[in-house]
């Protein structure tokens, strides 16, 4: 149990997927201009991460990992080099399915999340979390927690960035530093704030 809590806290604060591993920067930079869109995309990413990470775990450990095909009578096969392609395909398929399900059952949720879902399929954070999960040898439960935690951490980062950029509009930024430059520097300052959590051990 301790382990689970520690993975959760770690993935939100200390090992924040955006601020410590630079994943999901593209959509972070373009969407954080707008507060509402940031909240929407943050929720969508959290949701997709929570679903795709365990599915990718199952796919990896029952189909791709060395010796994973033992249940099919093929213990000598190692397909792990296919994990990149498979993970992307799984993510794209799940995002598509989620979009259709939400559209069918919850028009309200669809109108708020719907536009962001296709964007997510190519978000590096999703693939990155799946690859980290393999590299760190998480089990199924840990991978669910890690996926959700990373999503929450990403959302926290993008929403705070949206808030900062809203205030930045009134700031007098030197010419040439406006836009991209100052956004990167404020992200850096925010990352520094998040590093303060790294002294905490569970």
């Amino acid at each position: 149990m301790d382990n689970i809590i520690s993975i959760f806290i770690n993935s939100i604060f200390i090992g924040n997927i955006l601020l410590a591993y630079f994943l999901g920067m593209c959509s972070f930079l373009s969407v954080s201009k707008n507060m509402e869109a940031s909240v929407g995309l943050g929720l969508a990413v959290t949701f997709v991460l929570a679903v795709t990470t365990p599915v990718n775990w199952l796919v990896y450990y029952y189909l791709l990992a060395p010796g994973a095909l033992t249940w099919a009578g093929l213990p000598g096969i190692d397909l792990s080099f296919l994990k990149l392609v498979t993970f992307i395909a799984v993510v794209a398929a799940i995002v598509q399915a989620i979009e259709m399900i939400i559209d069918r059952f919850s028009p309200f949720l669809y109108s708020s999340l719907g536009v962001f879902l296709p964007l997510i399929a190519v978000n590096c954070a999703i693939l990155g979390v799946a690859l980290f999960m393999v590299e760190r040898d998480y089990n199924l439960i840990e991978s669910i927690v890690y996926g959700t935690g990373s999503g929450v951490g990403w959302m926290l980062a993008i929403v705070s960035m949206a808030a900062i950029r809203k205030k930045l509009r009134y700031a007098d930024v030197p010419e040439g530093l406006e836009g991209f430059g100052i956004t990167m520097i404020s992200t850096g300052l925010m990352a520094m704030a998040f590093m303060l959590f790294s002294g905490i051990t569970m």
């Binding site: 296919l82 994990k83 992307i88 590096c124 693939l127 040439g176 990167m184 992200t187 300052l189 590093m195």
Partner: protein
């Protein structure tokens, strides 16, 4: 003849400075900043990325009249993923230590927006050789930013370059200290921000 030559050159050289993929197009910062703590990993990453962009541009451009328009994203993704897997396996085979340090970030070249971005916006509309050069130009332009960031971080953070000590001992004796902050993630964001500032100021002159 002169005209085509200058166009080829422009395609190759523009992304290096004037239309740099990170600085100006704001593409593909994702993922790769994490490998800029050391110069060595940044250089390997830059080479891997350049190869992937160049060959994916070439492949997409050769196939551009065959790929049906509505499934082109999937086709491009397959080409890119294949190339990245090749790069990953090559690194594992010949540079095992570095591939361990790069960990998941080689795989993440797939989702790097530069690769797909160039395939979509350039290779689909241009002949193979030009696309290949465009890929090399963008890869090198991107790589040079990575290497610049890594240079600053390794020099100030560990006092070494490519693993060799470059800061003279006399500096340390007289009280100079390495800046541990440079080795942490926030430093990369701030350096990129400052580099962009520098580049824009120089360009606007």
């Amino acid at each position: 003849m002169k005209k085509t030559e200058s166009k080829t050159l422009k395609v190759l050289l523009d992304p290096l400075w004037k239309n740099n993929p990170i600085m100006v197009q704001i593409l593909g910062i994702c993922s790769s900043l994490a490998v800029t703590v050391q110069l060595k990993t940044a250089i390997v990453m830059a080479i891997a990325l350049t190869m992937v962009v160049a060959f994916s541009n070439l492949a997409v451009s050769v196939l551009r009249n065959v790929i049906p328009r509505n499934i082109r994203i999937i086709a491009e993704l397959c080409i890119v993923a294949t190339l990245v897997i090749i790069a990953d396996e090559l690194l594992k085979a010949f540079m095992y230590d570095i591939s361990k340090q790069l960990s998941v970030f080689v795989g993440l070249i797939i989702t790097n927006c530069i690769v797909m971005g160039r395939a979509e916006s350039f290779a689909l509309a241009n002949p193979p050789i030009l696309s290949f050069l465009d890929g090399i130009g963008n890869g090198v332009g991107y790589g040079s930013v990575l290497i610049a960031v890594a240079f600053i971080r390794e020099l100030l953070g560990s006092g070494t370059l490519l693993g060799f000590d470059v800061v003279p001992r006399i500096f340390y004796l007289s009280g100079y200290e390495n800046m541990g902050f440079m080795l942490l993630a926030p430093a990369a964001f701030i350096i990129i921000g400052l580099l962009v500032w520098l580049q824009r100021t120089l360009l606007n002159k």
